[in-house]
């Protein structure tokens, strides 16, 4: 038994995995454990040693925090659906029809990710601003149309989220679609399949791992969205991350903030667990 453990520990794979593993225990499991622990402490305590309680979880439901939860989840789900629908034709084009233009189109799609999302969201504020914004100003000057305020609504928050998270759906989807062999599409066509059948029976199932990864990434990151609602939404909607931030900082109520965090990450964690079980990462990342 001991020697098999020693064998395992001397495997080069285990040795090279260890720095990363140790780092993630300190940097990832540690924080989650502490948040989990704090969520069972009485209100406004800053250390362990006292009694344990479920009050914070009860307060989540009795004080309307579940509404925040529903807003965040609803907006994240809507964002995911929109980004999938918008991305599919683009990903298809990148894999199949753009040919040598693919690389440059890809580069154009990548650049915005590396401009801070706050900068881009504020750009939307400048574009949509009432009266003197780019859109309102152009409409007024060119067509004489007066527009009302376009900011500070749930719709514009959704637009901002779709905008920010689009690449996170698009790139994994592109990876997934590029895994569909052209031969199989040709074969299906030779056997008499129509466009819709090819899409449903060949392309979609084969591209599914990439689409799932992209959708999951988008959904989970969108749950943590905070700047979109603050910059574009004013105070229309309070998002989950905002509520947690409020408890951790201004309200100085770590236990309640921790309980909201635990509920949020339990849901996303379970989702990630079930999706990841279906996906073979070796297959997705290996080059053909």
């Amino acid at each position: 038994m001991r020697s098999s453990l020693r064998d395992w520990l001397s495997n080069p794979g285990v040795i090279s995995a260890s720095p990363l593993a140790v780092f993630l225990v300190i940097g990832f499991l540690g924080p989650i454990a502490i948040v989990f622990g704090f969520s069972f402490l009485p209100e406004r305590t800053f250390g362990f040693g006292g009694e344990w309680t479920l009050d914070n979880y009860a307060r989540f439901f009795s004080h309307g925090y579940y509404k925040t939860f529903l807003w965040s989840f609803g907006l994240a789900a809507a964002t995911t659906v929109c980004t999938i629908l918008i991305s599919y034709p683009v990903a298809y084009g990148l894999c199949r029809t753009f040919g040598r233009w693919s690389t440059i189109i890809m580069l154009l799609l990548v650049i915005p990710i590396f401009v801070s999302e706050n900068v881009r969201l504020f750009g939307w504020v400048l574009f949509l601003l009432k009266g003197g914004g780019v859109l309102a100003g152009s409409l007024k000057n060119l067509f004489g149309i007066e527009t009302g305020s376009m900011l500070y609504t749930p719709e514009v928050i959704l637009m901002g989220m779709v905008y920010v998270y689009l690449p996170f759906t698009l790139f994994p989807m592109n990876l997934g679609l590029s895994m569909v062999p052209q031969d199989q599409v040709n074969a299906a066509r030779d056997l008499g399949a129509n466009r819709w059948q090819i899409f449903r029976e060949v392309e979609l199932p084969l591209a599914m791992p990439g689409i799932l990864v992209g959708a999951l990434l988008t959904f989970v990151l969108a749950i943590g969205a905070i700047s979109e609602a603050k910059l574009l939404g004013g105070t229309t909607v309070v998002m989950l991350a905002h509520a947690i931030q409020h408890e951790f900082t201004y309200a100085q109520n770590w236990p309640l903030g921790s309980a909201i965090s635990v509920i949020t990450i339990s849901v996303t964690g379970i989702l990630v667990f079930f999706v990841m079980r279906r996906i073979d990462l070796d297959q997705l990342l290996r080059r053909r």
Binding site: S16, P19, I34, L109, N118
Partner: protein
């Protein structure tokens, strides 16, 4: 017979993609345009253009401090992430060991995690352990999210790496260190380069992790956010535009370097 997409579908897809690209660039162009406006408050259509906010911004000490902080954070993150991620990628994609599949899946959890929640959990953790927020603390928080991503980026290169070259070098009498330096490292260099580029840029633009952990050391993105929420100054668009130019230059340069390498590799073989 090769199955071809019909020309009108092709054109439709191209038009759709063009629309998406326009959508992606609308706010960026608006921001760059605003940075050249002469008046203190932005009003479209613009009456007078000027570069005075750039001059004011470039003359301010603040600008240098913010960029230096961002640079320290991003450079440290890039170096640490590539070192840890390199070994992580070997464990991820190359070696066969018991527990590899579990390791691969566990590595996904920090990436697939609401970032602001991660930032707040790390804030609580650092406060509890007694670490004062600073740019070094921000490096640590960035790494939690960026190292797994960089590991994936490098893994893609590792999957395509032919290990028989190493065996050949061993057979010719090379030492472990020589093989590592002369065979493994050069073969994986493009992956390490992309990994470093990714780490640097992701760290540079990060907001949800920085905001809770930098303390008194403010990064460019944090300062911009504070000024956007309250106390707007015309230096905001100028500094924001500056980072847009930076990102474009770095990405095109990185792309050019990769292309040149590929061409060189193609002509050598």
């Amino acid at each position: 017979m090769n199955f071809e997409t019909k020309p009108w579908v092709r054109r439709l897809i191209l038009a759709w993609t063009a629309t998406v690209i326009v959508f992606l660039y609308i706010p960026i162009v608006s921001m760059v345009m605003t940075s050249f406006v002469q008046s203190r408050y932005f009003r479209f259509p613009v009456k007078a253009w000027s570069t005075k906010w750039y001059q004011e911004m470039l003359g301010a000490n603040l600008t240098q401090d913010l960029h230096l902080t961002s640079l320290y954070v991003a450079m440290t993150v890039a170096v640490c992430a590539v070192v840890i991620g390199f070994f992580g990628a070997l464990a991820f994609a190359r070696y066969d060991w018991k527990g590899r599949k579990t390791f691969q899946r566990l590595l996904m959890f920090p990436i697939f995690f609401p970032q602001a929640v991660l930032g707040l959990a790390l804030l609580l953790w650092l406060t509890y352990v007694g670490v004062t927020p600073s740019w070094e603390a921000a490096v640590f928080t960035h790494l939690v999210w960026i190292v797994p991503i960089v590991t994936l980026v490098i893994s893609i290169q590792v999957y395509g790496y032919d290990t028989s070259q190493e065996e050949a070098a061993f057979d010719l009498g090379a030492s472990r260190w020589q093989v590592f330096r002369e065979v493994t490292l050069p073969a994986l260099a493009p992956g390490l380069f992309s990994g470093a580029l990714f780490a640097f840029l992701l760290s540079w633009v990060n907001f949800p992790l920085s905001t809770y952990t930098t303390g008194a050391d403010s990064t460019v993105t944090e300062w911009l956010y504070t000024k956007m929420i309250a106390a707007y100054t015309p230096m905001v668009p100028a500094m924001a535009a500056l980072s847009v130019y930076g990102a474009v230059i770095i990405l095109f340069a990185g792309y050019a370097i990769l292309l040149a390498r590929r061409r060189k590799a193609a002509s050598a073989s």
